[in-house]
Each structure stands twice: as C-alpha cells, then as structure tokens.
C-alpha cells in the first residue's frame, strides 16, 4: 500500500469515526429530547388534572352553592327542632283543670316554630362552613397527591436521560475508535520516512541527477 493510500485510508477512517460520533450524538440528542418531551407531556397531564381539581373546588365555593348549603343546614335544624319540640310538648297534658290551655299550647307551638327557624338560620351557617371545610380539605389533599405523583415522575427524568445518553455510548466509542485509528494511520502515512523518494545510487556509476558530487 502506498503512503498516499495510507493517508487516504487514515482520512477515511477519521471521517467515518467523526460520522459515527455525529450519528451517535444525533441519536442521543433525539432520545434525550424524546424522553424530555414524554416527561413534559406527563407533567402537562398532571397539571391538567390539578387544574380540573382546582376548578371543581372553586365551583363548590360560589355564593349559589353557599346559599344551597346554608339552606340544607337550616332545614336540618328546623326539622329536628320541630320533631323534638313536638315530642316534648306532647308530655304536657292539656286540660281545663290542670296544665296549659289549648290557646297557651298553640301560642307556645308557634313560638317554638319561630325559635326553630331562627336557630336554623343561625346554625345553618355551620353546615355551610363544614361543607366548605370538607371541600377545601379534599381539594387540597387531591392537589397534594397530584403534586406527589408529578414530582415522582419528574424524578425519573435524570435516569431516563442518563439511559438515553448511555444508549449511544457503543456507537460513539466505535466512532472514537475509528477516528483514532484513522488519525494513527494518517499520521503514520504522513510521517513515515519517504523510502520511495530517497535517492538511489546506481552502482554502474551513473550519477544521479540530483547528486552533487562536487566534481
């Protein structure tokens, strides 16, 4: 093999090595980008879920819902008060001789109903307050779980990127090996003593054309 050919082979090997390295870098970049994109997609999913949870919680905190919950609480109190007052009043006999008259009973019943309504309006707020507290607690808990899952998923990204990087190490090593070999061959081809160009002496006495014999 001629020296020029060696140099060319070296150059070709270096080029192949560089190409292989570029390919591996490109593939590695693709894989890393894909891994990152996948993770971003997952994070967007978590974000979407969190937004949905938050919006759902907000929808449960509107004045209309507040009024509804307060009304439920009011009704609950009123119903129970009416029930207990009726039971309690029934133990009191009504007669002309002893106990309250019917009129007194009626007045007391009306007063009791008014009292139940007032208490319901007042204590109905407790129901609203309780339901809002539960709503907030659940939303908060749900958001906490979503955050936990999102962080866990995010935590795997460095490992996935590392795997993507390592996946092309073989190709890159091959490229580096080829490049190094090409470099060696090229260097060898370029630096080896040029045996082919060393003047050759003709023993028959013919003076080489480039030999200065000082004659």
């Amino acid at each position: 093999m001629g020296l020029e050919t060696l140099a060319l082979v070296g150059l070709a090997l270096s080029a192949a090595g560089t190409g292989a390295e570029m390919y591996s870098s490109a593939r590695e970049g693709e894989k890393m980008n894909k891994a990152a994109e996948d993770e971003f997609a997952r994070q967007r999913g978590y974000q979407k879920e969190a937004t949905k949870t938050f919006q759902g919680s907000l929808a449960q905190a509107t004045p209309a819902v507040q009024a509804q919950q307060q009304n439920i609480g009011q009704q609950k109190i009123q119903e129970n008060v009416a029930k207990t007052q009726a039971v309690a009043r029934n133990v009191i006999p009504t007669s002309m001789d002893s106990g309250p008259s019917e009129l007194v009973q009626k007045e007391a019943t009306a007063a009791g109903a008014a009292q139940g309504a007032q208490l319901g309006r007042y204590q109905g707020m407790d129901e609203y307050s309780l339901r809002q507290w539960i709503n907030n607690l659940r939303a908060q808990q749900q958001l906490q779980v979503i955050t936990n899952l999102a962080r866990g998923s995010e935590g795997t990204l460095p490992f996935v990127l590392n795997q993507a990087r390592q996946s092309q190490e073989g190709t890159r090593a091959l490229g580096q090996g080829l490049g190094a070999l090409g470099s060696i061959v090229g260097t060898y081809g370029a630096t080896r003593p040029k045996a082919a160009t060393v003047p050759t002496y003709n023993l028959s006495g013919i003076v080489p054309y480039n030999a200065n014999l000082g004659v």
């Binding site: 007045e107 007063a111 490992f159």
Partner: protein, 328 residues
C-alpha cells in the same frame, strides 16, 4: 451496552409506575371505605400462581383474563421490569408471550437468564429459569404484576361509608337518647307547677297561663337545644372523620403502602361507626324552676310569709328572691 445502569431509566420509571399505582389503588380503597362502596381485599401478591380464582381491582371490580391479555402496560412491564429484562428483551420471548396472550406467532421457551432462576422476583417462580408460557402462566404473571402494585385482590368487601344517612342517623341517635330524659324532666316540672298552682288556688288564673307559657317556652328551648346538640355532634363527627381520612391519605402518600393505610382506614371507620358515649343531659329545668316556681311561691302563698302577715316566723325574706338573682 449491557451494563447494569444501561436501563436505569426504565427501572426508575417502572418503580415510579408501581409507586403511583400503589397510591392510586390505596386511594380507591380509602375512598371506598369512607365514602361507601366495594373495594378489593386480600392482596394477591404471592398468591398461588395456578389457582388464582377470581381477581379484583382496588375498587372491587372483577378482572377477567381477557383484561390481562389486552393490558398494554403489562406487555411493557414484561419488557422493562428488572426481574424479566432478559426474557423480555428476547424477541422470541415476547413473541411467545404474545402467542399465548392473543394467538400471535409461535410458542417457545422463555429464558430468564443465568441467575434468573435464583431471583426471588423471578415471575416464573423461584428456582425456575425456563418455562413455556401457558395461558395460566400469563394470567399468573399478570396477577403477580398487579399484586405487586397493590392493584389485585382475591376478594371484595363493602363499606357502608359515612354518607348523609350515617350523620342523619347519628343526629337521630342523640335525639333518641336525650329526648326521653327531657320528656321526663318536662313532665316533672309541669307536675310541680300544677301542684304549686293548685296549692295556691291559682289553677284557673292569668298567673297559671303565664307560668304554663313560660314552662312550654322553656320546654321548646330545651328541645331545640337537644336538636341543635344532635346536629352539632353529627357535624363534629363528620369533621373528625374527614380529618382522619385526610391523615390516612397523607400516610399513604408517604409510605405508598395501601395495605397499612387500608387496615387503618378500616379500624378507624369501625371506631367511628361504634356508638358514642353520651353524657347525661343534666337538669334542664332547674333554672326555670328556680326562676319561676321559687319566686312565685312566696308571693302567692301568705302562709310562707308570716312576717308580712303578722304570723311570726323564722324564715328570712331572702327566699323570695330567685336563686339566680344577685343579692347584696
């Protein structure tokens, strides 16, 4: 290439998937226990591979074999899970699995690797390093896979939960407990009033109407108090239960151990379902009696005020004042 860390990303993702499934499965169970519904019990991890019987997810839904055959995550797990890496990366191995799952390709041998047979997590069974996958094997693998993630159970249970009816009943329970006491006391107060009025000849009088009205109002007030206390007790209980549910979810998030969280949820739920210990309601009409009967009597019965009528007595005039009146 072949180094232990070359699939670290896949392993990390598989483990994270497991963790998330554990949390999601545990959440389903806690929600079913507290909110009412069916949930899976007895995790299937380590369950006899060939005799799995019926299997359920955390929400108590029956999982069919068809589900396992069509579960793409399972196939992914086969490819990526550390315990079956070598088997899964062998094309023929996966092809074999697919053959048994869906009749694709041809059956073959599944190799788990030189040390696969000694791997305690070997899905083909401890000590087995080579196996032709049958439909039962696939089903067993699927079971183990889900079981590891806390997603597979061999039975179901149903929890009544803590819904509106539970709290309504809790209110009613308190009312049922307190009202007979209140009724007894009201009856006694009314008797006392009747006796006093009769004793003073005031049964048919404006004073009697006033006193009867005041007693009925007091009865109404006390009855409303019982109702209010009942509702309040149910609300307090609801708050405690929600707080406890929240605590269990926090524990689940930290531990990713649905078994522990679920057993705690069950014991907590059982504790809250048990009857509360109610305190006696006390003397409800003592204030009324002190205010009206005690003050009424001296002013209407002259015999009790001899010093005013020249009868001579050792009684002091202080008794004419209601007990809740401040004396100098």
């Amino acid at each position: 290439m072949g180094t232990p860390s070359s699939n670290s990303g896949d392993i990390a993702q598989a483990q994270e998937r497991d963790r998330q499934n554990l949390i999601k499965g545990g959440l389903s169970q806690i929600n079913a226990i507290f909110g009412g519904g069916t949930y899976g019990v007895n995790p299937a991890a380590g369950f006899a591979r060939r005799n799995m019987g019926q299997l359920y997810d955390p929400s108590g839904n029956l999982i069919s074999t068809a589900t396992s055959a069509n579960d793409p995550e399972f196939a992914t797990w086969l490819k990526t899970h550390p315990g079956v890496t070598e088997a899964a990366t062998t094309r023929s191995g996966l092809g074999n699995a697919l053959y048994h799952m869906g009749g694709v390709g041809a059956p073959g041998s599944q190799a788990v690797g030189a040390f696969g047979g000694l791997n305690p997590f070997n899905p083909f069974g401890f000590g087995e390093d080579r196996k032709t996958l049958t439909p039962n094997d696939i089903r067993a693998l699927y079971g183990k896979w889900l079981g590891r993630e806390g997603e597979l159970f061999t039975g179901t249970a149903t929890s009544p939960g803590f819904g509106d009816n539970f709290y309504k009943q809790r209110t009613q329970d308190y009312i049922n407990y307190a009202m007979p006491q209140l009724a007894d006391q009201a009856r006694q107060a009314q008797k006392n009033l009747t006796f006093r009025l009769a004793d003073q000849g005031l049964t048919q009088s404006g004073a009697a109407d006033t006193l009867n009205t005041s007693l009925l109002n007091e009865i109404n007030r006390q009855a409303a108090g019982v109702a209010s206390t009942g509702v309040q007790q149910a609300q307090d209980l609801q708050k405690q239960i929600e707080q406890q549910r929240s605590n269990l979810i926090s524990q689940l998030e930290t531990s990713a151990d649905p078994g522990s969280a679920t057993s705690q949820a069950l014991s907590t739920a059982a504790g809250f379902s048990a009857p509360s210990v109610y305190q006696p309601i006390g003397s409800l009409f003592s204030n009324w009696a002190n205010t009206y009967l005690a003050s009424q009597v001296p002013t209407t019965n002259p015999s009790l005020f001899p010093y005013l009528y020249g009868l001579g007595s050792t009684r002091s005039g202080g008794s004419i004042l209601p007990s809740n009146t401040t004396q100098p």
